[in-house]
């Protein structure tokens, strides 16, 4: 068992060795610029890029001409939302998204608001799901885009994509889906789900960092204003030298995902259950944040009552996880995703996100269960809130003097 144990697969994933192997020759021996039409180095690189494009397309049920390579999901999100808004602004200036989206989506929307667009940020239900009637009610004849993610990075919750796609198609509103967490971990078919734009990220699916893609529908044709102007690469939608090794890596990662997803999901789900049951059977006052059923198999977000998240992370330092506690976020605010579920600030401070994946073993899960249980018990011994709760005092009834 490798130490420290990595259990933060939503933060980033280790690259699959098979992906790295595929990438290596493209740094040195086969180093040409894919746009160089005039020599073998260039052609070779171009061929590899087109193969990668095909691999990505296949995973999404798309055509390879619909795949635009980017530097990652953040860029894809920025490009999709900004690009569509600017292209279709004469048709309407209203967008809809959800409060639990990734910052790349939320911040792009905020910037558009500063430019005179209006954005509706839909609330979510307690299980983290968007309510379809709320979405429908929010749509107007000015709405040009709906952006709802496939799987949430913090709580793993999966939105009802096919339903959203159907509604959007009916209302003639474009549907963008940030699938950075979902790709390779859930079935995604842009045709069946009627998705018009979709963002993917290499490093969330055992591929390299610094690369991603944006699916852009051709039939009916979706247009967008590019973010990166320049040499006209990617059919004018995204200029910049194509980084062959990274694209080869992304392609390979997609191919592996397609081949192994079904089995892997089963395996990871079993491990997650093991983790959850192991903890629940030995600790009280533990809650799961977000729907358990509509959830990515590798994600488990738990709140441990009366124990603060960062102290718990420190106590289990041999295990790499992440927390929704303010102390671990750069802004010192508790997780906005948890708050959106209706989780109190106090409870948000007690949350830990466990992310399991391709290389997680049962042995590791057992170790983590034991470590977590031990640490929580110890921290509860040190917690004045646990003490109060044990003596029957209702914490919520106390008048705290916040400082």
């Amino acid at each position: 068992m490798k130490h420290p144990i990595y259990m933060d697969y939503q933060g980033t994933t280790p690259m699959d060795p098979r992906v790295l192997e595929e990438m290596l020759p493209w740094f040195v021996e086969k180093f040409g610029n894919p746009a160089s039409r005039s020599h073998a180095y260039g052609w070779e690189a171009e061929q590899a890029v087109e193969k990668a494009r095909e691999q990505v397309a296949r995973l999404l049920g798309a055509d390879s001409r619909e795949i635009v390579f980017t530097s990652g999901a953040t860029e894809s999100d920025n490009l999709a939302i900004q690009g569509v808004a600017r292209f279709y602004q004469d048709k309407g200036r209203h967008l809809i998204t959800a409060v639990t989206e990734h910052k790349a989506v939320l911040d792009t929307c905020r910037h558009l608001e500063a430019d005179g667009f209006t954005v509706t940020y839909l609330p979510v239900q307690k299980d983290g799901l968007v309510a379809m009637d709320a979405l429908e009610a929010a749509m107007t004849d000015q709405t040009i885009l709906v952006s709802i993610m496939a799987g949430n990075n913090e709580i793993g919750v999966i939105q009802p994509l096919a339903e959203i796609g159907q509604l959007c198609r009916q209302k003639k509103v474009l549907f963008h889906c940030d699938a950075a967490q979902g790709v390779g971990k859930m079935a995604l078919d842009v045709e069946a789900m009627q998705i018009d734009l979709l963002s993917i990220s290499g490093h969330k699916m055992y591929g390299p960092k610094g690369v991603g893609a944006l699916y852009v529908r051709r039939r009916p044709r979706v247009r967008l204003k590019p973010l990166f102007h320049g040499g006209g690469h990617e059919r004018g939608m995204r200029s910049g030298t194509l980084p062959t090794p990274l694209l080869v890596g992304l392609g390979k990662a997609c191919e592996l995902a397609m081949q192994e997803m079904a089995e892997e999901n089963k395996r990871v789900l079993v491990l997650r259950e093991q983790l959850l049951q192991g903890i629940l059977s030995q600790l009280t006052h533990v809650e799961v944040n977000g729907s358990v059923e509509q959830r990515l198999p590798g994600n488990l977000n738990l709140s441990f009552g009366y124990v603060e998240g960062e102290s718990l992370m420190m106590a289990i330092k041999e295990v790499a996880v992440s927390s929704g506690s303010a102390c671990t976020s750069a802004s010192l605010e508790p997780s906005y995703v948890l708050r959106a579920l209706g989780v109190s600030e106090a409870q948000a401070h007690t949350s830990i996100r466990f992310g399991l994946g391709r290389f997680t073993t049962a042995e590791e899960v057992n170790f983590v269960v034991q470590t977590v249980v031990q640490a929580v018990n110890r921290l509860r011994e040190m917690s004045p809130l646990w003490e109060m709760a044990q003596s029957g005092i209702d914490i919520n009834s106390i008048q705290w003097d916040a400082h």
Binding site: P4, Y6, D8, G11, T12, T13, P14, M15, L20, L24, F27, V28, F31, G32, N33, A35, S36, R37, S38, H39, A40, Y41, G42, T70, S71, G72, A73, T74, E75, D77, N78, K103, A104, V105, D107, R110, S201, H203, P208, K209, G210, V211, F228, H229, G230, G231, G232, S239, G240, T241, L242, P243, T244, P245, L246, K317, A320, S322, T328, A330
Partner: protein, 379 residues
């Protein structure tokens, strides 16, 4: 194969790739994470930033990592234009890289006024031409440091100083993608506010570059989201590539003095040998001192450039005609046209660009093959 298209891209230097490898495997964490895996990645990134800062003699905080030169250029122009709410005037040159020209055109479509300053027959921007284009409302001037097709170097420092003296608050940007790592560059000495660079032009990997900025400069970010790079460029950092850029920068710094001399010698060898065999060959941009030591753009009137390139490829020699971005499009490049060259002559142009692994033997082989091919293609 003799590869002489380094301005399009270069091989990643072996030490650079070696240095990158651990960051694909053990040190794979997300630098934003607080745990050990994240910290290990962040450390690598910090070291790379320091190395790049050392090459350009700036402070680490002045470096914003991007996905490459194109992004850095777009970020620079867009970032400045957006700060001014897309009002005001922009100046750039006729020989800029497509990424600069296109983003300036984009800003024009959004409401700004644009002046594209021409170049002389040698491909140089004249400071007085920029000066006379200046207006009170000029927000940004973007002039590249060295041209990717001809290697011609622009008097950036002189232009920058003039602009700053004339228009208070003006911002000056330079696309130094082709010069960083090839010739010594000191950010301060250039008097610019922003400088773009790209890793794969100096033996680093593709997919990473940087925009170097003046500490006091405020820019609207192009990519928003997680707030990485101090809010200036969101998106999980491409740690292995950044590490590669840092290593490439360090290597370039150590070998710069020698390498410059070496490339100059090779350039001279190439140009004098060609002129000997083909006195009718024309080198663009005239004197070598005004050009990057590794670049030679030349043409033989009446012989189609693309055809030369393809023939040379058959002989195992890789060069290009016009820039990579534009290659295969069948149109002559905007750079020779801006230099007053006719469309026909422009279509005859080829570019030879050498790099860290180019040898004297490579140059000889090129000259021989070039001369043979020209003879064969002569009507």
């Amino acid at each position: 194969m003799v590869y002489l298209d380094h301005n399009a891209t270069s091989v990643v230097r072996p030490q650079v790739l070696e240095g990158m490898l651990p960051f694909f495997s053990e040190r794979f964490g997300n630098p934003a994470s607080v745990h050990g895996a994240g910290r290990a990645a962040r450390q690598g990134m910090d070291v790379a930033r320091r190395r790049l800062a050392a090459l350009l003699e700036v402070h680490e905080s002045q470096i914003i990592f991007t996905s490459g030169g194109t992004e850095a250029n777009v970020m620079a122009v867009f970032g400045c234009a957006a700060r001014h709410h897309f009002s005001g005037h922009l100046i750039t040159s006729a020989v800029e890289h497509a990424s600069v020209l296109q983003v300036c055109a984009g800003m024009e479509r959004r409401g700004m006024e644009l002046t594209v300053v021409g170049v002389d027959a040698d491909g140089r921007v004249r400071p007085e031409d920029v000066c006379s284009a200046l207006r009170e409302s000029t927000r940004l001037v973007s002039i590249m440091h060295a041209n990717n097709e001809t290697g011609v170097m622009q008097p950036v420092a002189e232009i920058a100083e003039l602009c700053r003296a004339r228009v208070p608050g003006i911002v000056v940007h330079t696309d130094a993608v082709q010069s960083v790592g090839k010739i010594p560059l000191c950010f301060e000495a250039l008097s610019v506010h922003m400088l773009s660079l790209s890793a794969h032009k100096l033996g680093g990997p593709k997919g990473v570059g940087a925009l170097v900025v003046d500490s006091a400069l405020l820019l609207e970010p192009l990519l928003v989201g997680g707030g990485q790079e101090r809010g200036r460029r969101s998106g999980t950092e491409n740690v292995p590539a950044i590490v590669g850029l840092g290593l490439a920068a360090e290597l370039a710094q150590h070998t710069m003095a020698e390498e410059q001399k070496r490339l100059r010698r090779l350039q001279q060898q190439l140009e004098s040998q060609i002129q000997n065999e083909r006195p009718d060959a024309l080198v663009m941009g005239q004197s070598a001192e005004q050009r990057l030591p590794n670049t030679t753009a030349l043409l033989v009137p009446g012989i189609h450039g693309e055809t030369v390139v393809m023939n040379l490829d058959l002989e195992g020699i890789a060069i290009s005609s016009g820039s990579a971005c534009a290659s295969g499009r069948g149109q002559p490049s905007h750079v020779p046209l801006a230099m007053g060259v006719t469309a026909e002559l422009a279509a005859s142009m080829v570019r030879v660009s050498m790099g860290w692994n180019t040898t004297s033997l490579d140059v000889e082989r090129f000259v021989r093959s070039f001369v043979t091919v020209i003879k064969r293609l002569q009507p």
